[in-house]
């Protein structure tokens, strides 16, 4: 359907959960775009909640094909534009952590390897939110999901969150960044910076999920902020492969992870010992990403 008369890139009226962390992040991303943009979207909450036919929330040209192939579809869009001699239209991929860390990873690697001018945005909810909160490669230690439930013999997820930024950097991307819902201006600025770079760029945005994290509908932004303040999910920016900006800077004062974990139902079963372990993960980050 033609969406030319829409005056916004993402209109209200979608059916995401009230207070959805991802949708607030998407709005911030959209503020960083111009109308001269084409979006390839992976399967997931964002696709399902914004495109219930015959309606759509999108005012930009937008396509969804499958779960794992948004990156390759974007490569095809880029190739078609390049063939037209159009090197100015921006191509944006949007996917969740399941589509990025897990099922789509090989195809993302292919896209990055080809050096195509495409911005990839991962909305990281730390689980498969759309199918009912199953664990993904992004699920952090101790999180209870429907496929890593806590129980007498289980702490929840025992995996270490995969380091997608390192994978992006290993492909030689000139712009790689991490941020969180709750910092809308930072998201918008990062999108603008990424689009100014020629070649592939990657931005990962922590997107608190109301039902997945078992938080209240008005807590997504706060949880995004806390994740950053504890050092568990620092705001990071790599330019030309080097850490060029970090929330762990001279002004950084770490808050204990306890405040972050206790507010979320997915972590409510953790023992003091588990929390201590997660505190040590935050401290590793604080060392690693200090600027």
């Amino acid at each position: 359907m033609n969406t030319k008369n829409k005056n916004k890139f993402l209109s209200p009226g979608h059916n995401a959960c009230s207070g959805c962390g991802q949708l607030s992040a998407v709005h911030a991303v959209m503020r960083g775009l111009t109308p001269d943009t084409i979006i390839a979207n992976a399967t997931g909450c964002l696709e399902v909640t914004t495109t219930a036919y015959p309606q759509t929330s999108w005012g930009l040209p937008w396509i969804h094909s499958l779960f794992e192939n948004a990156s390759s579809v974007a490569s095809g869009i880029r190739a078609a534009l390049d063939k037209q001699g159009n090197h100015t239209t921006k191509v944006l991929v949007q996917a969740g952590d399941g589509g990025t860390y897990d099922i789509g990873l090989g195809l993302i690697s292919g896209m990055w390897e080809r050096g195509e001018n495409i911005l990839y945005i991962c909305y990281d909810t730390e689980s498969y939110s759309n199918t009912g909160i199953q664990a993904s490669g992004s699920t952090p230690y101790g999180a209870a999901t429907t496929t890593t439930p806590n129980g007498e013999k289980s702490v929840g997820s025992t995996q270490v969150k995969k380091d997608m930024l390192a994978i992006a950097l290993a492909h030689g991307l000139k712009y790689v960044a991490q941020t969180a819902a709750g910092f809308p201006d930072d998201i918008t600025n990062k999108v603008k910076k990424a689009l100014a770079v020629s070649g592939p760029a990657y931005i990962q945005i922590l997107s608190p999920c109301i039902p997945g994290w078992k938080i209240n509908y008005d807590e997504a932004a706060m949880m995004g902020k806390l994740a950053v303040k504890t050092g568990l999910y620092p705001i990071l920016e790599y330019t030309n492969g080097k850490l060029s900006a970090s929330s762990i800077n001279a002004n950084f004062k770490a808050e204990p992870v306890n405040t972050y974990l206790k507010g979320q139902g997915r972590f409510k079963h953790l023992t003091e010992e588990d929390i201590k372990h997660i505190q040590s993960l935050a401290e590793e980050n604080i060392k690693k990403y200090r600027i």
Binding site: T51, P61, S65, S72, V73, G76, G106, G110
Partner: protein
């Protein structure tokens, strides 16, 4: 018996089948090629890469890291208004399956070549039709070529009908038998192709364009999903007439004659006692063999999807003995072509319809085997026989 009437223009070259296909593809005004290597498809995509390297091609050539990616890349390009191409075989085609369904559901007129090869396990790189049959229900038109020249023309036909009907098409060429063999073949010129197949210009508002934004691939409720799938079937049925019409035009523009109507080709006596039915290069072997038989005809199915039931009934419905010789089998049933022909012919009364499974994994199919099949065709009894 009636002589098969094939009068092509003087053939210009003696070429490998893959080269003939690649040269034809390069003569189409094409925008984007993406592919991943798999035997026996490789020579086609290597040739296309070489044309590009030599500055003799205008298309963008995107090296994919898997067939899944290649299919997704051409999907994205086609959705942005580009004319696109890929080629694959066997495991590669099967890896693409999820994307193939997606392409047809999105009504993208993509054309691919399948260099037909057996499917693993056991691993085997030689020719049969198991790969094409595995994607039978994916919503792609499927053509089967007998020889290099037919493969060349079927690609032009495929693009023409695909773009007219907004349906994707797969052109099947037997791996090695066609892709790696040399035959005299004429490659249509760019200007003549343009006469038949004008540049691809999708309607404004049907593809990704910042000046006319559209949402593609949205979430459909049961009602709209049901209607969409039904529409695809309706258009497949309509495409039968389009294929016939466009094949007539093809013969006119490229100035050749044959006994095919684009859907099926019958060669043999007017009232045969036995009709053999097959697809692809095997038709050549059968044509040679039946020269010695007065009462045996050959029905070559050139279009498998849409399935030309009416044409098959017209050509073979009144013949008492019909034997389907095919290079694929559905375990627990029979040959897929056999099952469909049986379903079509059963409307015309009791016939002796038999199924011979041959050539799996590239097992050589000799004229002796065909003679054996002809001899057995009139016997009642066992319906599905493996000849190998």
């Amino acid at each position: 018996m009636k002589k098969t009437n094939i009068q092509h223009r003087v053939k210009d070259h003696i070429l490998e089948g893959s080269k003939a296909i690649a040269l034809t593809i390069n003569n189409i005004n094409l925008d984007v090629v993406s592919a991943y290597p798999i035997t026996p498809q490789t020579h086609i995509v290597e040739d296309l890469a070489q044309f590009k390297a030599d500055g003799k091609a205008e298309y963008e050539y995107i090296r994919a890291e898997s067939e899944f990616a290649a299919a997704s890349i051409i999907l994205g390009a086609c959705a942005t208004g580009a004319r696109v191409y890929s080629a694959t075989s066997s495991q590669g085609l099967l890896l693409m399956v999820e994307v193939l369904y997606n392409i047809s559901g999105m009504r993208l007129p993509i054309v691919m070549t399948c260099a037909n090869r057996a499917v693993s396990a056991p691993i085997n790189i030689w020719n049969d039709h198991s790969d094409a049959m595995a994607v039978r229900d994916s919503g792609w038109m499927q053509f089967f070529a007998e020889n290099h020249q037919e493969a060349v023309y079927q690609h032009l036909l495929a693009y023409k009908v695909a773009e007219k009907m907004s349906l994707p098409a797969l052109v099947n060429v037997d791996g090695f038998i066609l892709t790696h063999s040399y035959e005299p073949v004429s490659i249509p010129s760019k200007s003549l192709i343009k006469k038949y197949l004008p540049d691809y210009k999708p309607e404004t508002g049907t593809y990704l364009d910042p000046n006319n934004p559209v949402t593609m691939g949205g979430f459909f409720s049961s009602d709209s999903y049901f209607k969409t799938r039904e529409n695809i079937v309706t258009d497949f049925n309509l495409s039968l007439q389009e294929i016939k019409k466009e094949y007539r035009k093809l013969k006119k523009v490229f100035n050749f004659k044959d006994d095919s109507n684009g859907l099926v080709e019958y060669s043999g006596p007017k009232k045969p006692k036995v009709i053999l039915v097959t697809m692809g290069s095997l038709a050549g072997t059968i044509k040679e063999t039946i020269k010695d038989y007065q009462e045996v005809g050959l029905l070559k199915i050139t279009t498998f999807r849409p399935f030309p039931s009416e044409e098959i009934i017209k050509a073979a419905g009144m013949c008492e003995n019909i034997s389907i010789i095919e290079k694929a089998v559905s375990p627990g049933s029979g040959g897929p072509l056999y099952s469909e022909i049986r379903a079509a012919i059963s409307q015309t009364g009791k016939r002796n319809i038999k199924n011979y499974i041959v050539g799996l994994g590239g097992k050589d199919i000799s004229q002796k085997m065909i003679q054996k099949i002809i001899k057995d065709s009139r016997n009642k009894g066992k319906q599905i026989t493996f000849i190998g």
